[in-house]
Point group: C2
Chain length 156, copies 2
């Protein structure tokens, strides 16, 4: 029996829809896994690995200073952070939402930065964060927008 | 002449693709226009209008305090801000990127908050901001994630 055009088109559209939903769910798990690996790399101070999670055209918006645009500037920013006495950072993304087309997503979570204060004591700054992720042509998710701020009042 | 199945499916897929690109460009203009109207409403201190640009389940991440989740809490946050002596806010979104499916987008820009300092003088805080927008089932774009921080060091 020859399948009707309507049936074929219906199956085509349905399969596009299903693939989209499956991709969205896969993408969410993938980004959560990447994000955990990224935080781990930052805790290990592995600069090249830390940088690999941002896209080349990413922008980082750190509190208390202008935006940091593009990989070379972000590398400087990361190196400078790692040079801060007593510096440490960790974060956790709690939720990820992916666009239906599976090309754009955002994650929200919390972070913690520690460093040595001017009195020699450890300072801990708790923050909240938003990251926007983009799927690149190779199919890899990269962070393109990275912004956070402090949960309570803190003078930088 | 009866059109071939391949031709019909090709046209179908191509038209889906074209619509997606057109939607993306429309969505970008729409969000930029909404954002300008939103800043205008904030400058006019029109609370209900200001609130209408966020989705009911939006989260606002203001610097120096915990996240503000959902419309009732955001209303309180807006009212509290408007009560701050000498308070004023304006912002401008410079860029918007929309997902291929036209359901999710993000914007980046700058903002400026003014208020009266403890010494009675006007304080101006320049910031940078990221907003995530979602197209709701009625086709309207609403801000679901709203985060910003200061461009230079500032103690709240």
């Amino acid at each position: 029996m020859k399948p009707s055009l309507v049936a074929i088109v219906t199956v085509l559209i349905a399969s596009l829809g299903c693939r989209s939903v499956a991709n969205t769910s896969d993408a969410k798990s993938q980004i959560l896994r990447l994000d955990a690996e990224w935080s781990q790399a930052a805790q290990s101070r592995d600069v090249d690995r830390v940088l690999s999670f941002w896209s080349d055209d990413a922008t980082v918006f750190p509190p208390g200073r202008p935006a940091v645009v593009g990989k070379p500037a972000i590398r400087e920013f990361v190196l400078e952070s790692f040079r801060t006495p007593g510096f440490g950072i960790s974060w956790k993304t709690n939720d990820v939402v992916v666009s239906r087309s599976g090309d754009l997503a955002y994650g929200t979570g919390t972070n913690r930065v520690i460093f040595t204060g001017s009195d020699g004591k450890q300072v801990t700054v708790e923050g909240k964060a938003v990251a926007v992720w983009r799927r690149d042509p190779e199919g890899d998710w990269k962070c393109i927008i990275d912004i956070w701020n402090d949960i309570s009042s803190f003078s930088r």
